[in-house]
Amino acid sequence: MLDMRLYMAQRLSALVMAPFVIVHIGVMIYAIQGGLTAAEILGRTQGSLFWFLFYGIFVVAVSIHAAIGLRVILFEWAGLKGVALSVISWGIGLVLFAMGANAVWAVTA
């Protein structure tokens, strides 16, 4: 079920995600020193092209990576095949992207 194309998409999206996860967690640990408020977060992210691109690319990578991973589980464990498998996998990817993109836009716009 995982052909070369899907395999590379999942591996490359993982490669993209690795440094993003480290920076994401690193900034969180750094930012909560001395307390944390919504205003402080929004002050950092609103209008920032850097954080828009950072979390925007992160969301794209997560959507691709998670959809392919869940596709394998749905095929091997739930027995989904063919069109149903493709539709549900694309659906998972698109929902994750929509939710992530919505959140990124909300804090950076």
Partner: protein
């Protein structure tokens, strides 16, 4: 280690049935002897208790790869498995190889297993004709050593039966076929590496492997299909980035 006492009896459960009949289990009392193999037990049942019991074997010495079965849920060469190693109390459970259709009783249908060897391009692509001289092979070359590590496979299907990815994905080519492809890929005398990489890059190809490693853990010849499959993943990835494998 349990050593059978003289005169003691083992309780042996055997899976019966064929593709046309529902499978069921039957239990036999089999006399225990010293140095008895699981194949000896199956043969004793067929010769003394039920002549209709169907099973497959040939060499009896671990060379031919015919007698593999599930013994207490684990794929094993029955001819090279001593009863004393697997006896659970005084019980043994014997079933046909997992992940393959059953012909009858303990004889699994090996067709899907061998079809996948062909599908994985497990065949030689010659570099020379018979009129030319034989190409010299350097046994010390790194690629030759990678190929040599996998060529002692005797096609017994133990790894194929041990593989949970095969269970979940019937299209998956499986460890033995992919290891064969890897040995040919590393063979200096093979002329079509691209055809091999194409064959292992499809829907049932090497990229489905979850690296669980049951193939390497259960191989009775102590081969390492897990590393062979990892090699194919690396080679196909290098080719994806435009580098020769």
């Amino acid at each position: 280690m349990h050593v059978a006492e003289h005169g003691s009896v083992m309780n042996v459960t055997v899976q019966r049935g064929s593709a046309d009949t529902p499978t069921r289990t039957e239990t036999f009392d089999v006399p225990a002897y010293d140095n008895q193999t699981v194949l000896d037990v199956v043969s004793w049942i067929q010769q003394n208790a039920d002549p209709t019991l169907t099973y497959r074997f040939a060499c009896r010495v671990g060379m031919c790869g015919s007698c593999a079965m599930m013994v207490n849920g684990v794929p094993r060469w029955t001819c090279r498995t001593h009863v004393s190693k697997v006896l659970d109390g005084n019980k043994i459970n014997i079933a046909p190889l997992r992940n393959l259709p059953v012909i009858k009783d303990l004889a699994a249908d090996m067709d899907p297993f061998f079809d996948k060897w062909v599908a994985a391009e497990g065949k030689h692509h010659p570099t020379r004709t018979r009129e030319e001289e034989i190409a010299p092979v350097d046994p010390q070359a790194e690629e030759r050593q990678a190929a040599s590590a996998g060529i002692e496979c005797i096609n017994c299907s133990i790894c194929y039966s041990a593989c949970d990815t095969v269970t979940g994905n019937p299209d998956y080519l499986g460890p033995a076929a992919l290891q064969r492809a890897w040995t040919l890929y590393n063979d200096a005398k093979d002329a079509d590496r691209d055809a091999i990489l194409d064959a292992v890059s499809g829907k049932g190809g090497c990229h489905n492997c979850h690296s669980m490693g049951s193939c390497t853990a259960y191989c009775p010849n102590e081969l390492d299909p897990l590393s062979a499959i990892a090699g194919l993943k690396r080679a196909t990835t290098r080719r994806f980035f435009g580098r020769r494998g």
